[in-house]
């Protein structure tokens, strides 16, 4: 991918008013929901810190907890597979499907499956794959990819969804919610009842019990794990908590940060295949633990990116995401976390430029329930790009010159003087009317002030040093060092 492609996608999104309106509406709902939910706690900041600590501990001891999880799943009668790459993960699932003679699959939401293009591979094997999460179902019908971690179809308007469903049903539909959900319910009910295999993602796996936790608002996670005879769960290797008790905190942080819900409508915790005497549940359960570049982040300055619990709060608050939606980022993960994960998973060489889609405002870091310093990481990705010489040579030359000049005050002052003189032909009424690239792109939409005839340091020398000011009769604590002064 080149920056040209990134810019093109961004321009395309900016020109799409329907998309921008849909994204703004959805993210506004999410973020105001979150803001309300957070207010219910006096100690939200302390909870963030605890959640961060739980994630940090887990990732620091990932080998231990993964081994514990695998042992527990096997003890519960399930099978465990480790996949180093996306291709391996796909191959494992294909083999499982072949082994059990699977004809159709009901899927609940899984971002990992989007990462590895699982659906396409299964279809090649002649297997029918149905997404059952409403958002995923919509984008499957539209032939698109998710544009948001928790709201895959939030870029779609109600009208667009009604059109898709109308095509499916072969009749015209009204755009009200009951009509649309009734279509989805009728279509999907059949899928649940006939699928041989369920495939799920994993919000959190619990190491001490060997359980998989799913949060959904439509109950599809529960259907997919209860009805088909085979269940396969795909989990990113970092999606794990040590104890059942840890779910209390992390599920709270997840649902409140995501949508503002105290809990999602359904929280499903399941621990393997049907046991003797149980009335439902699958005959066989397979857990596929996917690395797909995650282990390369361990021990690096980006390790905290693995703390992510996929709530999407950073997307909802991101002023860039809110303008362009998720697809412009170019891969499955979007928003600030996507701009960090995509280069890390797919290579800084090719994908480092996604980190430019940020104004570094830090809203993501402030919104993150596990306090990932995403703005710092975005700078880190930019640094990796620059160090590997993936940035434009002109840009490298500009910053080399910048550092050199700013190290030499005489040169800096000379540049100011030269600027005042050189700008003359290009200035009218105190504003630039022309500037060379890349500054020209500023001028297209904004005015730019010309350098005034005297800079601050000139004023300081010529008049300011001599000026005297009347004292105000306010009490100032000179020299007494106040605690809060030294803080922050």
């Amino acid at each position: 991918m080149s920056k040209g492609a990134l810019l093109e996608r961004i321009e395309g999104a900016l020109a799409n008013d329907r998309l921008r309106e849909a994204v703004k509406r959805a993210t506004n709902n999410f973020r105001s929901g979150k803001a309300r939910a957070v207010l219910e706690y006096d100690d939200w900041e302390a909870m963030r810190e605890r959640a961060r600590a739980v994630r940090a501990h887990t990732i620091a001891h990932l080998d231990y907890y993964l081994a514990q999880l695998a042992a527990k799943v096997r003890e519960n009668g399930g099978y465990v597979h480790f996949a180093s790459t996306g291709e391996q993960a796909v191959e494992i699932v294909r083999k499982i499907a072949r082994h059990y003679g699977v004809k159709s699959v009901a899927k609940s939401k899984s971002m990992v499956s989007e990462e590895i293009h699982l659906n396409d591979a299964l279809k090649e094997d002649g297997i029918e794959v149905y997404e059952t999460d409403l958002g995923e179902y919509i984008i499957q019908l539209a032939g698109e990819t998710p544009s948001h971690i928790i709201g895959p179809a939030l870029h779609k308007t109600r009208e667009e969804i009604a059109e898709l469903f109308a095509q499916l049903e072969g009749r015209t539909l009204s755009t009200d919610t009951p009509t649309l959900t009734a279509v989805a319910r009728r279509q999907l009910r059949n899928v649940f009842l006939t699928a041989d295999m369920g495939i799920t993602g994993c919000n959190f796996a619990v190491a001490e019990t060997g359980s998989v936790t799913l949060v959904t608002n439509e109950g599809n996670g529960r259907m997919v794990t209860a009805l088909p005879r085979i269940v396969v769960t795909l989990m990113g290797m970092e999606r794990i908590v040590p104890r059942l008790e840890d779910l209390d905190l992390l599920l709270t942080m997840l649902t409140r940060s995501a949508t503002g819900q105290r809990a999602t409508s359904y929280t499903t915790i399941f621990s393997g295949p049907r046991r003797d005497g149980e009335k439902d549940g699958p005959e066989a359960f397979h857990l596929v633990i996917v690395d797909n570049q995650r282990s390369t982040i361990l021990g690096t300055e980006f390790e905290e990116a693995l703390h992510c619990i996929r709530c999407g709060a950073c997307l909802n608050i991101c002023p860039v995401y809110r303008q362009i939606g998720g697809h412009a980022y170019g891969w499955v993960y979007s928003g600030p976390i996507g701009a960090v994960l995509t280069p890390l998973y797919r290579g800084v060489e090719e994908w480092g430029e996604v980190a430019l889609a940020s104004s570094l405002c830090g809203a993501c870091w402030e919104a993150c329930p596990v306090k990932i310093p995403l703005h710092d990481m975005l700078i880190g990705i930019r640094r990796e790009s620059a160090e590997r010489r993936r940035t434009h040579p002109f840009e490298r030359w500009i910053f080399r010159g910048f550092g050199w000049m700013m190290h030499r005050p005489g040169l800096y002052r000379a540049a100011q003087r030269a600027g005042r003189w050189l700008q003359r032909p290009f200035v009218r009424d105190g504003r630039f009317r022309w500037a060379p690239a890349p500054l020209s792109s500023w001028l297209k939409t904004r005015t730019l002030p010309a350098l005034p005839s005297k800079g601050f340091r000139d004023l300081w020398q010529s008049e300011l040093t001599k000026q005297r000011e009347p004292r105000l009769a306010v009490k100032a604590a000179f020299g007494e060092q106040r605690e809060e002064g030294r803080g922050a």
Partner: protein, 257 residues
């Protein structure tokens, strides 16, 4: 008490009146001000673009310029956040690490210095008008200063400070982002300006001239008749002798050293 002004390169070059206002405000509070002329830029443009080594070259100069200063005060949340919170990282394991930490410790944003160090919240100022305030991201999130400039402005008699809807959203400046992603940056400015228009304020105030340059530049293109200024400029006007109550003037004057 003596303070060294960290004027920042953007104020030095494009907005000298902001530096002048900062000097006058500090003097009116009885503080002696000096200006170490070796200072250039904090290095943030290079740092944020991923050029740490080039940023360090600029930063070394700033550290040397303020080596002998006791207090360093600047009229920018962003540049001060760079020095306070990012220099320690930038110089980790570097021979100048100790000096970088020293500078980080003694550097303050202007309102932070007035409110938290001097303990002044009310300057006895008077100014008639309606204003709204743009909270720059690097001042609030980067530096952690949220209330200090607003505290000072709320205590200006006659000034009505209107809350800006979605105040915490970025204005879209973002340094090189404003140029590299110009249309995205402009779309963000437009959202911000739509909210500014809703306040019906006559003045848009802020504590970072870079954001204000971007917003004012967009306003001029859109033809929005709002005055854009640094909060220190307004406070300087509002504490001139002809505006403040005679009783709030003390004896004596303060000038440079």
């Amino acid at each position: 008490m003596r303070v060294s002004l960290f004027v920042t390169c953007i104020v030095d070059t494009l907005y000298p009146q902001v530096g002048v206002s900062a000097v006058r405000l500090l003097r009116r509070l009885g503080v002696d001000v000096d200006f170490p002329s070796e200072q250039t830029c904090c290095g943030q443009p290079a740092y944020n673009s991923g050029y740490a080594a080039d940023a360090r070259r600029a930063a070394q100069r700033l550290i040397q310029a303020f080596r002998d200063s006791q207090w360093v005060v600047g009229p920018s949340g962003s540049c001060v956040a760079m020095v306070r919170h990012l220099y320690p990282k930038l110089f980790q394991g570097h021979p100048m690490e100790r000096e970088a930490l020293e500078l980080a410790e003694k550097t303050y944003e202007l309102s932070q210095f007035i409110v938290d160090v001097l303990g002044v919240t009310d300057m006895g100022a008077t100014f008639d008008g309606v204003a709204t305030y743009h909270t720059s991201c690097h001042m609030t999130r980067g530096l952690g200063v949220k209330e200090a400039p607003l505290t000072l402005l709320r205590n200006v008699r006659g000034l009505r400070l209107v809350d800006l809807p979605f105040a915490e959203d970025c204005c879209g400046f973002g340094g090189t982002f404003a140029v590299k992603m110009a249309s995205l940056s402009t779309a963000m400015a437009d959202d911000k300006l739509d909210n500014v228009a809703k306040t019906q304020a006559q003045y848009l105030l802020g504590g970072d001239m870079a954001c204000l340059m971007h917003l004012k530049g967009r306003m001029e293109k859109r033809g929005m008749p709002v005055n854009v200024m640094h909060w220190a400029e307004l406070l300087e006007l509002a504490t001139r002798p002809d505006r403040v109550d005679a009783r709030t003037l003390a004896d004596g004057e303060v000038s440079a050293s």
